[in-house]
Amino acid sequence: MTTASAVDPRRPAGGGRLDRRTLRADAILAAVTLALLGLPMVLMAALPIDTPWLLAAVVAVAMVGAILVRRARPVLALAALTALGAVHVLLAAPLFPVWFAVLVVLYSAGRFSRWPGRLAAFALALAASLLASWWVTTTGGFASPGAAASEVVRLTAILWIPPMLLFSMAILVGWGVAAAARTEAATVVAQVSQRRADQEEERAALARDMHDVVAHSLAVVIAQANGARYAADPAVKDASLETIAGTAKHALGDVRLLLEQLRHSEAPDPIASLDGVDVLVERMRAAGLDVRLERAGGPVALPRTADIAAYRILQEALTNALRHGDRAQPVHVRLLGGAGAVIDVHNRMLAMPGRAGHGVRGMHERARLAGGELWSGIDDGWFRVRAAFPAGMQHPLAAPAQGGRA
């Protein structure tokens, strides 16, 4: 599948590539961090307490930098925060805001890195929460200065649980978002290739139609013109010229119809849904088809793929009626909604079935791929197409996780 190269479903979507929008979002996040956490930290340090304010400034800048590179280099951001955490704890400096940056970076590691980055994130989470709980135990006043080592260990172990839970949560949320994005990307790829296949199919059908109309009509025109040139009888020549004019006129009408179809398939078609039935019917009426639409069973609620297939089948059936049917007779369309959907189209055929048929095969295929069924056939001079999409079905290509949305 060549189309997959644009979006690699195995790579966490959005990772690595930095477009202007994500960069701006991160810049805002960094600015907010700096304003709300970094500056107060520096100011706190500048007060005549015992921390050198320069160290606080460096830590603040490093923290902001880590937030800025968290998408492209999640592991680097992780390493930077590990270092900052160590500075905080080992120097016992008042650098609490670092822990907020740790949460952001852990989330990023879950979201934008692969297995090694995520494992590193869990390692950091373990180390950071142990350090934090040890620090709180010893300097936060939980253990009295002269407490036994076993008491310190016990308290550290208890205090370790909340930060570990918090940090793990950050990684797991990032991971979950990455998985969702990946599924979404795979869905987009599948949809794009499906659309491309549909377009190919349509183009092939148009090429066939073009050949049928243009090549056959021109072959007749040439044969008749050559025949007339050689015919001795003036009456035969006249009849030939009449045939030529008639054939050319008919072909021109067909070419116009094809061009109309081409325009429709070129125009972005946002209403490839049974919700757009009225517009479709109007369009067909404008093209000269007497469509009688009858609805029953309430509004149609089909999964999206079935909805598109149902709409395309209806469109194809009506187009066939326009091209091959008797336009003097009405075309009856019955639309049964409710849990599933049934489309029933019948139109009066012209005496000669002609070269119809390839479109019908496409309709069968479309219905089958979308999990429905289609019957078509001739019934006493009427051409009938009936497509049924059962309720509660699932698109066969959709991933199980996508079932609810498909």
């Binding site: 050949h211 072959a219 040439i222 044969a223 007339a228 015919a231 001795a232």
Partner: protein, 215 residues
Amino acid sequence: MIRVLIVDDQALFRSGIRMLVESQPDLVCVGEAADGAQAVRLADEQQPDVILMDVRMPVLDGISATDRIVRARPGARVVVLTTFDLDEAAARAIRAGASGFILKDAEPELVLAAIRTVHAGNEVVAASATRELFKAFGRQRQAAPAAFAGLTERERQIFSLAAKGLSNTEIARTEFVSEATVKTHISRILAKLGLRDRVQLVVFAYEHGLAGEAA
């Protein structure tokens, strides 16, 4: 009189060709068929000399119809009518026994000449177009079969000229022999190689790399 049968699923195309055929004193149209099955039946009833055969038709296509007609009556000559000059179906029809192919939009003079040429059997219709066709859709080239070694030196010379699409008259002029001699050689060559007519000879030469690559 050359008896001609016209086979095409478009009535108006048939009537145009029919006018052309009927305008000629030496040609007569003995029938029209709208599909391959009708063509097979009419070929049996009317014993036409030349059949102008469309390829894509309902009921029975032109390839199968050609196959059945030449099998039933080896003397019948089929000319395939195609829309494109590189149509794989035309190549298959020639394999099935057609004597040549012409485009549906060919000049009327060419259509008439093709009818007379395949009937006379002394020349191939559009030899270079036939080679192009088999260049596009031919099989993998093979070594010449043992039968080819059975040709005499003289026969081989005539074989390669006929493979280039030269008529009997042209071969006679090139080789300083009489046309009757050429005709005798050609029929002996066809018999030795088990080929039914000259177009088969062109295809045989092409597919076995005997066509003379300059052509």
